[in-house]
Symmetry: C2
Subunit: 151 residues, 2 copies
Amino acid sequence: MDEETLQTALDTAEALCAQRGVRFTAQRRRVLELVCRAERPVGAYEILPQLHTGATAAPPTVYRALDFLLEQGLVHKLETLHAFIGCTHPEHPHASQFLICADCGRVKELENEAIAGSLRSAAQETGFHPKRPVIEVLGTCAQCTHKAESV
Amino acid sequence: MDEETLQTALDTAEALCAQRGVRFTAQRRRVLELVCRAERPVGAYEILPQLHTGATAAPPTVYRALDFLLEQGLVHKLETLHAFIGCTHPEHPHASQFLICADCGRVKELENEAIAGSLRSAAQETGFHPKRPVIEVLGTCAQCTHKAESV
DNA sequence: CGCACAACTGTTATAATGTTTCGAAAATGC
DNA sequence: GCATTTTCGAAACATTATAACAGTTGTGCG
Ligand SMILES: [Zn+2]
Ligand SMILES: [Zn+2]
Ligand SMILES: [Zn+2]
Ligand SMILES: [Zn+2]
């Protein structure tokens, strides 16, 4: 995420939190910034040493901030990677899908209604009530596929 | 899984391994049995103490068996639960979806072509080549929904 | 303001999950 | 039998996540 996009994301986050009456503290802002700055999903323990200037912070510090950001839909957790990624459209709650490149590590967030819909109807057939869908596809992105073929 | 289904599952597993020229050792059989006997997904560390009669086995013992069973498609791993479940139709390789009840813990394995298809086409649009889709839906099963409503 | 309360943060310890490594044992193929 | 490959045992270690408790900061109200 480039510097401009980052600023927009942070401003959006701040506005959303104000609107919702929750506190977007300096620490939460900092964690969101670190997650967004990364090109790839980042683990909690990667963020940790970047929080304190001197000594490194303790795990609960970053997990608490991440929990908050997850609740507010500002970041997503990738269960298959045990890592976090900034949300590209946090304005509204959504069930998204992630395409994870095993080669370069980059992740694309989709918001595909066909997938969400087919999942909903399949669940409905069995009487199941979905709460939180986790859809993560590991594979190879277009760029990396192209590179591999041209070798 | 009842005793009869379990026996069928173990026999199927044995036949599949023979057919594929891989070894279905006593230990692997035992781990598969323990996974299948459970009503719910089981963690690796739950299986561990049931492996040795006297002292409890070391983690790599069960992880090696589980890795084998995963490779052969005899069990699945639920990423959101860090737990394993026996496959209900291991004869052919498949990309399945899991409905996980947060209430009773039971899991239903689906093999829904509409979901798989919509995911494939969404990926294709972005030039992404899927390798391993992970689709797990947390929610409430029909039974538990019914119970909750009748209270 | 000054106090009461709630929310947030720091710190230590611990739990849960998963891997590396090295060596012994067992099965396989000749 | 004997070399080769595969599997298994065991110890140590790595990574991810949570529990518990004390301190600090911010907020609202009189
Ligand atoms: Zn999102
Ligand atoms: Zn890539
Ligand atoms: Zn299956
Ligand atoms: Zn249920």
